[in-house]
């Protein structure tokens, strides 16, 4: 795999050029992405906004390294990942991308700390795993819950553990798929504030999918999607605020 530059602090860190994604469901073809062009700069907090079925999650999957386009190119840190093989994609997810899912996807049999530590173990990064995991939990405000199991945490707390898990490996990019979709408004706001804080304090690029315009207000940029295309990639957040 080409070495990804991890020290990009400005300029595009994610480049999408005419990205298309077609799914075949039986005899039916579904065009989830129909030629997406966009650039996301390092350290930006970008929201992919759109109604259900607009292709936001599919686009996020291309950026997050768990899917590849049918056509077009995706570059991460100036490296074209479009034709990466399975092993290279895995390495990308392991070292460069942090994932936050709508349904947190925590392992129920592991405690909060162990769920975070899992990410380091999968990276085969043995250095100070426990300390780093605890620190990551403290960064998300769950320093006192290290030994709690997911079933013993509230929805918001579970999602914060998921954020800590994404954070602990110090990724370049964190992608979040409807991170507040499963939470009440107040808790959702807490999560968004946390992610923003991490973005600005640690310089991590955040790409967040949501269908809730109110969640997009805080973004540096909003990419609006409709029918598999970006219909507006201006700095709409200001417009939304206004």
């Amino acid at each position: 795999m080409e070495k990804l530059e991890t020290n990009i602090t400005s300029g595009p860190i994610i480049e999408l050029d005419n990205v298309k994604r077609v799914f075949h469901v039986g005899e039916v073809e579904v065009e989830a992405l129909r030629g997406v062009n966009a650039e996301i700069n390092a350290g930006e907090y970008v929201v992919l906004l759109g109604p259900s079925g607009s292709g936001k999650t599919t686009l996020l999957n291309q950026i997050g390294g768990i899917d590849q386009p049918t056509e077009g190119t995706v570059k991460i840190s100036h490296v074209d990942i479009t034709h990466f093989d399975e092993e290279e994609m895995t390495k990308l997810r392991r070292k460069t991308i942090g994932w936050i899912f709508q349904f947190h996807n925590l392992i129920p049999s592991l405690s909060s700390m162990e769920n975070v530590q899992l990410a380091l173990e999968l990276m085969e990064d043995k250095e100070n795993q426990v300390e780093r995991s605890i620190q990551a939990l403290e960064d998300v405000g769950l320093g006192e819950y290290v030994d709690r199991f997911p079933a013993q945490l509230s929805g918001g707390q579970q999602q914060r553990v998921a954020i800590a898990r994404a954070l602990v490996k110090q990724p370049t990019i964190i992608v979040a798929d409807e991170p507040t979709g499963n939470l009440d408004k107040e808790t959702g706001n807490v999560i968004v504030d946390l992610m923003l804080d991490l973005c600005h304090s640690k310089g991590i690029t955040f790409v967040v999918v949501t269908h809730d315009p109110s969640m997009a207000k805080v973004a540096d940029r909003v990419l609006s999607m409709e029918d598999g295309k970006i219909v507006d990639s201006n700095v709409l957040s200001k417009t939304i605020k206004e």
Partner: protein, 786 residues
């Protein structure tokens, strides 16, 4: 401890039910396979231990003239560990409370002492102390209710001598009690007796001994050439010492030993064949359970992959999980195998009548079973893990419930839908079956497999009983077969027999023992039987060729590799084979009576007769009447022969009976497990139904329809599968011993399938209770978060 290691242990604990299923199935597979295999080793040990403890002879030298025992001296021969002598005669005995005459090998031994070679175990009473006392074989005493102190009558010529029974003994020479006259096992009809040497010598006017028994050192037994060399060497020495010609019979040539070898050999085949059936069943059950366990982790697999876990790491993780369960299962299987082996061998030794050996674990079967079961489980774990780890993270993290792709209704529903449309709660289970055809087929086959062990075991019993019935009802229709001491005119025999009240039909026959020339200095002793061409009492079930001329039994034809149209060769003649017949146990040649009379130049003479009796006649009186008018050598009663055939494989039958019980357990466990797993793997579906407000009745309907389809289809598939497997089992077990057609009685199928369906219903009820008690809130939360 590493996180992934902790995850394995905790996931196993949290999914206790599934984990326990896998452990139990593997333990059962290990226990059954190793237990059955060990029982063969244990049986061999039982015999060897008995023979060693009782110093069973390695060779028996016989003389027609009296030998002076004091002249026997083999002390200088280092290969000989022990030597003894005795006087052996074959006579008959009667016991007080019946009028039967029993064939009796009667031995004269030193009074008050145990023989030095071919000793016996004194089970009750004491050793003989004077000439009026005898020892009797214990099983004969038990079966004929002879007590210590009873009187028996020994025939010495025309005189009957009374003897008092003072002791009951077990002798390794008489486990199968082969009747010296018929060559068949005769547990009820052979009565071995031991008396004072001087008494026997006096009674039979034989001033000496006529048998010298020699036991060689154990290492000599390992090589046939070495044994032959020492037998010959010792024979020469003895003949010089006692100044008489001796015949020798090596232990392996003794009829009882040959029966034992056949029985134990059948045990070995039984162990391997049933062991293979057990492994086959286990393969399906283990695969079903492990693949479902791993598939249940699909979401976590997707998460780990999304977090950057490689396919290899994920595969390894789940292989370890299933592997750990397999190791635990195997460890539990070890003591289970000992229990099964002990149960089997206790049953076997009790029936055969040998002492139970001390229990121990046999290394070879354990290693074999462990390698096979563990290897199989590991392979399944790895393959299942590889398959699931290969799913893309995106797909893996999507709920498997949601990503089931439907294009159209299954064809069955489309066809049946023309008759009437289905309610959704009827359509759901039908579409589930056809949604994932591979998974459905695996589940159905696992169900079918669970029935196999029991049906195979029952098939053996059914086939054996059918073969016996067919042989004695359709082929050999006579009640008695009379052998004359010399050829007599057929008409004389017929007239005298028909004059005896109680005899219904009578036909003549001839028999002759011949030596088949197999070429290259090889020969085989067999018998020719000749019945009238239009015989009503002896039929042949021709499987190749035609029913005329020379017919060879199937067993003999296979052994000497002869086909219809080829010739069998004797020392001075050859006969073209016209037909090959299915015969139960006979390895004989058959031809029409007139052809044999011409061939032997016998004119109208015959060497025997077969008769049928009227209902309810006293067989003993008939035999006495026949003996009083005709020169009878021996009368073979068909019912006794039937019992003898059963005795021949009594040990095997004991094992088969235990297999039926184990099969019942297997049916219950595996059927239950298959159905429960199938229902629980669709838990999400039931959560949905419940959340939509489905009644318990509707939920039960959904469960029942799919489970019934699986159970009934599995049961139907089990019928031809059972027949196929049973056929392989029977042919493997009986090859060369008996010709048996595979028959599975409808009642056996009904019993096996009934047991499976009952277990299946129990599983349905258990799973139904679990489903209706699902905590909807927790389940929805879990489903959303996973």
């Amino acid at each position: 401890m590493r996180i992934l290691t902790k995850k394995i242990l905790r996931d196993i604990w949290y999914q206790k039910g599934r984990s326990l299923s896998i452990i139990v199935i593997i333990a059962l597979a290990m226990g059954l396979y190793a237990g059955v295999l060990s029982s063969y080793y244990s049986a061999t040990d039982a015999f060897n231990t008995t023979e060693t403890q009782l110093n069973l002879h390695s060779v028996r030298y016989q003389s027609n003239t009296p030998i002076n025992a004091s002249k026997i001296d083999l002390s200088h021969n280092s290969a000989v560990t022990a030597v003894d002598s005795r006087l052996a005669v074959v006579t008959s005995v009667q016991i007080n409370h019946d009028n039967q005459s029993y064939t009796s090998p009667y031995y004269g031994i030193r009074d008050g002492e145990h023989p030095k070679v071919s000793d016996f175990l004194l089970q009750r009473g004491r050793l003989i102390q004077n000439s009026s006392e005898v020892l009797l074989e214990d099983k004969f005493m038990d079966s004929h209710n002879i007590q210590l102190g009873s009187t028996i009558h020994i025939d010495v010529g025309s005189i009957k001598i009374n003897k008092t029974v003072v002791g009951a003994v077990f002798s390794p020479e008489f486990i199968y009690k082969v009747n010296p006259k018929t060559g068949l096992p005769d547990l009820e009809g052979v009565c071995p007796v031991w008396g004072m040497l001087k008494a026997v010598q006096s009674e039979f006017h034989f001033p000496g001994v006529n048998e010298i028994l020699v036991r060689f050192t154990d290492n000599i037994h390992k090589n046939q050439k070495v044994i032959d060399k020492y037998i010959s060497q010792v024979k020469t020495t003895l003949e010089n010492e006692v100044n008489t010609t001796l015949a020798s019979t090596e232990l392996t040539q003794e009829a009882d030993q040959q029966m034992k070898e056949g029985d134990v050999g059948a045990l070995d085949d039984f162990a391997r064949v049933f062991g293979t059936v057990v492994l086959l069943i286990a393969l399906f059950a283990i695969y079903d359970n492990i693949s479902k366990l791993i598939a249940n982790q699909r979401n976590y697999i997707g998460t780990m992959r999304a977090l950057g876990g490689s396919k290899w790491k994920v595969t390894r993780h789940y292989s370890y999980m299933a592997g750990l369960l397999s190791v635990v299962g195997v460890l539990i299987g070890v003591p289970l195998s000992w229990l099964i082996e002990y149960g089997l061998i206790a049953e076997y030794t009790d029936i055969v009548g040998i002492p139970l050996p001390s229990s121990k674990l046999y290394l070879i079967p354990m290693v074999q079973a462990t390698s096979l079961v563990l290897g199989m489980a590991f392979l399944i774990s790895v393959l299942s893990s590889i398959r699931v780890a290969s799913i893309t993270p995106r797909e893996a993290m999507s709920s498997s419930f949601i990503t089931q792709v439907f294009h159209s209704k299954p064809i069955v529903e489309r066809i049946l839908g023309k008759i009437s449309s289905f309610e959704p709660t009827t359509a759901i289970p039908i579409r589930n079956i056809f949604r994932n055809k591979k998974k459905s087929l695996l589940t159905i086959l696992t169900f079918s497999m669970s029935i196999l062990l029991m049906t195979s075991a029952l098939a053996f019993i059914d086939s054996f009983n059918y073969a016996i019935d067919q042989n004695f009802n359709d082929r050999q229709k006579f009640d008695m077969q009379i052998y004359y001491t010399q050829p007599i005119p057929a008409s004389e025999a017929m007239d005298k027999l028909q004059a005896i009240s109680g005899i219904n039909q009578t036909e003549p026959f001839m028999s002759q023992t011949v030596s088949l020339d197999l070429g290259v200095n090889s020969s085989k002793t067999t018998s020719i039987y000749a019945y009238p061409a239009d015989s009503k009492l002896r039929h042949y079930d021709i499987k190749e060729g035609k029913n005329e001329g020379v017919v060879v039994s199937g067993l003999l034809a296979d052994e000497i590799n002869i086909k219809v149209g080829e010739s069998v060769h004797f020392s001075n003649t050859s006969l073209k084979v016209d037909g090959i017949a299915n015969e139960l146990i006979s390895e004989s040649i058959f031809m029409p009576l007139d052809q044999m009379q011409t061939m032997t130049g016998s004119g109208n003479n015959i060497t025997g007769s077969v008769i049928t009796l009227n209902e309810g006649v006293d067989q003993n009186k008939i035999q006495e009447s026949i003996k009083s008018v005709l020169p009878v050598a021996v009368i073979v009663v068909s019912s006794t022969v039937k019992e003898s055939i059963q005795t021949l494989i009594q040990g095997l039958f004991a094992m088969i009976a235990v297999m039926v019980l184990i099969g019942l357990l297997t049916v219950a466990l595996f059927s239950f497990n298959t159905v429960v797993l199938e229902i629980l793997s669709r838990e999400n579906e039931f959560v949905n139904l419940k959340s939509l407000g489905s009644s318990k009745r509707k939920m039960l309907k959904v469960i029942l329809i799919q489970s019934l389809i699986v159970s009934i289809t599995g049961s139907i598939i089990a019928i031809p599968l059972s027949y196929f497997v049973a056929n392989q089992v029977i042919q493997a077990l009986m090859a060369g011993l008996m010709e048996m057609k595979t028959v599975i009685a409808p009642i056996s199928f009904a019993f096996s399938i009934g047991a499976a369906l009952i277990a299946s219903f129990t599983g349905i009820l258990a799973a139904y209770r679990h489903v209706i008690n699902i905590d909807l809130v927790a389940a929805m939360r879990n489903r959303i978060s996973n």
